[in-house]
Each structure stands twice: as structure tokens, then as C-alpha cells.
Point group: C2
Chain length 427, copies 2
């Protein structure tokens, strides 16, 4: 019974036919950060040079890649996908070289719709527009529903790519408080919507970047109803939705959308191949507008990558691949949390992501993450400092750590070194 209790508490684990073992991760869980408290006013977005510099630094080949949210290619099916692309190029050279204008390659739209249906979301191929990654999808959706000067409600913190889209479109941001496990605070959102003229909400509902949290299904339903009632469209980024660490795929807000008010965006950049630039959106009642905006701005998504992804989804073992990488990401995120506990000074806090591959860490004692970024880079370690995740440059004592790579001594060493630096800086 005592064993069972320890197991319940996660200190030991039962292995079939072997008895009980002390779990490798028998470390004390780090406390989680508090609910965020961004300012309750809209703001223009001007991320400027900082983000670009940090991104470029993080892409250098000689750094330990804890910065950009990228998977190790060893975790992606790059060989199978490349084999498919090669086969398709040879078998269908004409089709692969020809325009397949917006709304995009039909067999891919069929596969995306099929997978959505299997996940409980009623989409038809005609509901879908393929895009150059979800970055373009997001931009098209924003342009369809808002214009320069309009206010977009975003999560705080949120993915800097969304801030960049808002910035280039000349829109304003309204940061909404985030709960570290449940995502957007619906209470705070409702207050904000009462006070400000919000033109759209742009939320990452599952395994949000950088927090790694997901909205409970009940909150998704409430959110859809709330926004529908107010006539405010929801742009939903579900790019990490296929990557739960355990259990079934979570739902999307789109599942509960009965009026076409939800514009769902995603891509295969996190699960198959970032360089293929294959994303998509299901823009609800703005389908015509988004299709046209895509046609007007980039005309079509590259055909061969779309064909290869469609074929992989149809016959390439995408589900099998997902099962494998989910376990890997779970392990890698767990290792990173463990390393934070082990190497970072007391008072450090971290989120407990249930999917995806990023970890959000709160540094103790007023340690400045921009300074940490500079110091770490000198030792060839890249991290993503907190302020790039906020329109108002908050979260200076936070960092996002990428856990997309297979755990290694090099990564372990970098985590140890980061912890030491944080210790020095906070002393």
C-alpha cells in the first residue's frame, strides 16, 4: 500500500513483471509561475531589431539550440518524406511543376479534412486553404478580419511570430492574462472585451508557445460562445495540437464552432518538415476572403512540398510517427524540467507542459533574461529571452527553453552552465 501511494505520487513506478522502481525523475517538481498580469490597455507592436537579432543568433549552427522552437531533424521523418518527394517529382513532373493556386492542392486538403474529422472536427476539403506555413495562415486570417489600427487580443506571453504579424500589419495588441496550466483567463478576457474594441482574438489553444499549456475543453466551449455572442472572430493556432505527451489529441475551439466564427490555423512545420513550408487554415465564414488574399499575395503554395505532405498523410505512417515523437518530446521536456530543478538556483519556477516541446522558466532574484541571452551566446548557448514574447516587453526574468532535440550530454552541460550563470547573476 505504501508503494502504491508512492506510485500515486509519482515517486516510484511499477514495471510489469519487475516490481517497483524508484523513478529516474524522482526530483522535486519546480513550482509553476503565477497567472500573468499584463497591462490592461492596447499597445502598438514594435519588436524591432531585438527579435530578429535573437532569432539569427539562435539559428547559428554552432550554438546549443535552446532558443528557436525547432525539432532535431533526427526526430522528423526527413528521409521518408524526402523519398516521397523524390518519387513524386519523378512520377508527376508536370503536376509538381505547375501552379496549384489558392485554395491549394486538393489531395492535401482532403487529408487535412480527414484528420480533422477523425479528431472530431467537422471540416470538408472545401473549408481549407493551404498556405506557406502557419505563419502565412495567421497573417491571411488577420488581414481578412482586421485592418491597420485595429486591436487584436493575444495571450501574454505569446509566440513572437504572432506579434510580428500584428506589427507588420500595423495592428495593435491587447495582452490577456494567462494561467500557467489553463491558458487564457476567460474572466480577464471578458473584462478586456467589455472595455476595449477588440477586432479579433489570436490564441494558441493547445500546448501554447511559450507556456506549453492548453485550454481545458470546457474553456474552449465557453470561449467560442463568448466570442460568437460578441461577433469577435477567433483565430486559433493549433500548430502543436498533434503533440500531446500522453493520451488522446486535445480538441480545438473549431470543434465547437457552429457559426464559422473560428479560423483554425496549423502546419506541418513542427511534425514533419519546417522547410517544406506547408501550412493551412480553415477560415470559417471568411473562406472566400482568405482564399483571395492568398491568391493576391503569394498566388499559390509550392506544389511539390504539398504533394509530398499529402502522400505522407495518406500512406506514410503519420500516426506512427506522431506516437514516436510524442514520447520523445515528453521525455525531453521532462529532462529539461529536471535539469532546471537540479542546476538552477532555488526560487526558479517552470511550467509543466502536457504537449509540444518548449518550457517556460521564471528566473529568481530579478535575473535579466536579455543579459542572460547575451552571456549564454558568448558560450554558444542560445535561449529565447522572455521579452520577445510580449508586445510590452514584459517577462524580463523569464526564458523559453527549446526541448525539440534529443537529450544529450551537450544539452545537459548547457543547462548546467545556464543554471550557474543564473546563479551568478542573481547573487
Amino acid at each position: 500500500m505504501a508503494y502504491r501511494k508512492l506510485e500515486d505520487h509519482g515517486w516510484i513506478e511499477a514495471r510489469p513483471q519487475s516490481g517497483y522502481y524508484v523513478k529516474r525523475r524522482a526530483w522535486r517538481e519546480p513550482p509553476e509561475p503565477q497567472i500573468t498580469a499584463p497591462p490592461a490597455r492596447t499597445t502598438p507592436v514594435n519588436m524591432g531589431d531585438m527579435v530578429v537579432k535573437i532569432l539569427r543568433d539562435g539559428m547559428r549552427g554552432d550554438v546549443v539550440p535552446l532558443g528557436a522552437a525547432v525539432s532535431g531533424t533526427e526526430l522528423l521523418p526527413v528521409k521518408q518524406l524526402s523519398r516521397l518527394a523524390g518519387m513524386i517529382a519523378r512520377r508527376s513532373p508536370v503536376a509538381a511543376s505547375s501552379y496549384d493556386p489558392s485554395p491549394g492542392h486538393e489531395p492535401l486538403r482532403v487529408q487535412v479534412a480527414r484528420r480533422a474529422m477523425e479528431a472530431g472536427c467537422a471540416l470538408s476539403p472545401d473549408d481549407i486553404v493551404t498556405t506557406t506555413g502557419s505563419q502565412e495562415a495567421m497573417g491571411l486570417c488577420l488581414r481578412a478580419v482586421a485592418k491597420a489600427g485595429d486591436t487584436i487580443a493575444i495571450e501574454s506571453p505569446t509566440y513572437y511570430g504572432l506579434l510580428q504579424q500584428i506589427e507588420v500589419l500595423g495592428m495593435r495588441a491587447l495582452e490577456i492574462p494567462m494561467h500557467p496550466r489553463d491558458g487564457v483567463s476567460l474572466e480577464a478576457l471578458e473584462l478586456a472585451l467589455d472595455r476595449e474594441a477588440v477586432k479579433a482574438c489570436l490564441f494558441v489553444t493547445n500546448f501554447n508557445n511559450p507556456l506549453g499549456c492548453s485550454m481545458p475543453e470546457e474553456n474552449k466551449q465557453r470561449l467560442v460562445k463568448m466570442l460568437d455572442r460578441r461577433g469577435i472572430p477567433l483565430i486559433e493556432d493549433d500548430i502543436y495540437g498533434d503533440l500531446p505527451h500522453d493520451g488522446p489529441r486535445p480538441g480545438t475551439c473549431k470543434m465547437y464552432d457552429e457559426t464559422g466564427n473560428v479560423m483554425l490555423c496549423s502546419s506541418f512545420s513542427k511534425t514533419l518538415a519546417p522547410g517544406y513550408r506547408v501550412g493551412w487554415c480553415a477560415p470559417g465564414r471568411w473562406r472566400e476572403q482568405v482564399t483571395r488574399l492568398k491568391l493576391y499575395t503569394t498566388l499559390a503554395t509550392a506544389t511539390l512540398p504539398q504533394m509530398a505532405v499529402a502522400e505522407f498523410l495518406a500512406n506514410g505512417g503519420y500516426e506512427h510517427h506522431l506516437r514516436k515523437v510524442r514520447r520523445m518530446y515528453a521525455e525531453q521536456v521532462s529532462r529539461a524540467r529536471e535539469a532546471v530543478c537540479k542546476y538552477f538556483p532555488p526560487g526558479t519556477k517552470a511550467t509543466s507542459p502536457k504537449g509540444g516541446f518548449v518550457l517556460w522558466v521564471e528566473l529568481p532574484g530579478g535575473v535579466d533574461s536579455l543579459e542572460l541571452h547575451e552571456r549564454a551566446l558568448k558560450e554558444r548557448i542560445s535561449i529565447a529571452p522572455g521579452p520577445i514574447f510580449s508586445a510590452t516587453m514584459r517577462y524580463r526574468n523569464f526564458v523559453r527553453l527549446n526541448c525539440g532535440y534529443t537529450w544529450s550530454d551537450r544539452i545537459e552541460g548547457a543547462m548546467k552552465r545556464l543554471g550557474e550563470m543564473v546563479g551568478e547573476m542573481g547573487a
Copy 2:
């Protein structure tokens, strides 16, 4: 001597070791349209449903393709390019699957710069940003130098894709008169710039679409100086520059640019593979801004298509391919002009393109090209009616005919039928 004179006039041709022959195209050249006279005021752009509907109709697989400016795939090296793409995918699966963020794939930028240098235009790989086709390039350049409400000077008529970009960005257009052989009237442009606050010029300087004309080199020099003096950037679309029907490649305005005021855009959609969506721009002194806008809006161009195009430019016989298709396009445009002469009613006029593969035809007797488009479509012939080439829906009695396909009885028959319809409508 009489023979020589006839040859000079193009009625007969000398064939080496064979004597003189009456040329197959011993038909009377159609007269050319006059210089255009658009309204001298700026206008918002709202092409709306018309263009989209016409584009979609033109992409139907069952129509004679005289609408969209697309090459027959038999004229593109789709097999060689596909073989290269397949080889690269297998040989470098990791690179082909990874992000290659803005400014884009370096080996491609090296090849683009090399070709520009060979054509007399000093560009380095660092000057270049790769894009999702030249459609994206154009949009990025526009966004770098102008904002919603600003006025962009354009050719009249001009390619509808440029009008669409201006429309989605909420900018205004100022149509500048075009000479049917020399392109933009610099005199008219100068007057317009004196009168209106123009934020940028967006011109297709070589084998312009739809007229098929090029600016004389002297005019290019004058234009560069004029705009430089006034501090108005020139966005130069050179997408057809590689396709002269005869003689060397024409220059670009960028060649004469000493201050970085010219933003040169192009792509491989007209010469290699539209579906690869590989374009580029050399944005002069807005390089940083364009690089960042690309990063913010679509992050990166698909990697594998860029690798395949770079390899084709380096070792695939691009020049050899160009020599072949230039002859083909020359022949096809000539055949189309001949057919216009033969089948269209007296009073029909046509341009005499020296490159590219589109022909601009003025219909006699007030024949309405939108109506002709509808009638023709019923008989499964697609054409591009004049009004889609103007922000003010001018050119109702003009059509653009695509000559990108190998001449065939089917095309000849469609031309004949079009001529008959025009005759009926004008009677």
C-alpha cells in the same frame, strides 16, 4: 537588290545556300494600338470578384488556354528539374526539410547574383532575398516603401497581379500612359509626379505584361535618374527579361541604379516551373526591411524548390533551355499575330512583342471584351479581357492573348472562332 529590299521589309527571307524564299509570315502586320490615355488622377483599387472569376475560369482544364499567362509545360524543363529535385531530396534530406529563413537559400542567391552580373547588373548574393514567387517579392517591396492610402504609379495597362497587391495593401493607383513599343511615357510620368504625391513606381520594364513592350535602355537610364532625384523608389518587375525573342537579354533599370533606389523583382515561374514558387528581389537600400518583412510574413521560402532551382542554374543548362524557349515563344507570338490578321475583322490592332509570350489586341467597333470573354468561355476558350489590366477598368475593347503554348490546330481553331465572334459582335 529588289530581293534585298523585300528582305529588309520582312516579306522574304534568305536561307543560307538556298536562295530567297517568301516568308511563311508574309502577312500584313496588324497596326499597333495608340499610346494609352488613362485618367490623370489616383484611384483606390477594387478589382473584386471579376478578376478572381476570370482567373478561375481560365484555369479550368477543359479550355483553350489563351487567358492566363502560362507556358505549356512542354516548353518548360519539368523533367530535368524534377529529376534534380528528386536527387537533392534523397541526397540532402535534412537540408531540404529544414528552414532556410529569409534572406533565403544562399546557393540560389549566389546563382541569381552570378546571372545578374553576367547581364551587366552588379548584384552580390547579400543583395538578394528569395521569395514565394515574384508576386510575394512585389508585395514585400510595396510594404517596405509605402503604406495604406499611399499612391503607387503603375503602367496602364498593367499586370492584374500588381493591381491585386496594391488592392490588398489598401494603396491607391495612378495609371501612367504606355507607348505600345517603348513602355511607360516618361513625359507623362514626369507630369504625374509633379501633380501627385507618388510613393513608389511599380513597372514591368521588359516585355511588359500585357503589352509585350520594353523600355529602351536610354529611357531606363532617364527613369532611374528622374526617380532618384525625386526620392521615389522604383519597384522593377523583370519577370520576362530572360525571354527576348531575338538578340541579347535587355538591361534592367537596376543596372543604372547607383543609390539603391531600385528594387528589382523576378522569379523562375515563367522560365522554369510556376509551381516551385521560387522568386527573388534585390531591394536596394530597403534590403533589411524586406528581409524582415519576409521573415515576419512567411518566414522562409520552401527549401527544396530553392535547392532544385539553384542546382539547375548552376549545372542544368538554363541558358540552353532559354535559347530553345525564346525561339518557341517568338514563333508562337508570331503565329498568334498572324492569326489575328487572318481571322479578326479589319480594324483589329495588335502589339508587336519582342519578348515574352503575351499579345495585346485592340478589338474594332466597340466590341466588349467582357462579353467576348463570356461568349468564348461557353465555347471553352479562355481569354483575358482588357479591364482586368486597369485600376479604372479601362480597355473594354482589348484582350490579352496568352501565347505560352506550342501552336496547334486547337489553338488555331480557337483563334478563328474568336475572330468570328468579334466579327459578329461588332456587326
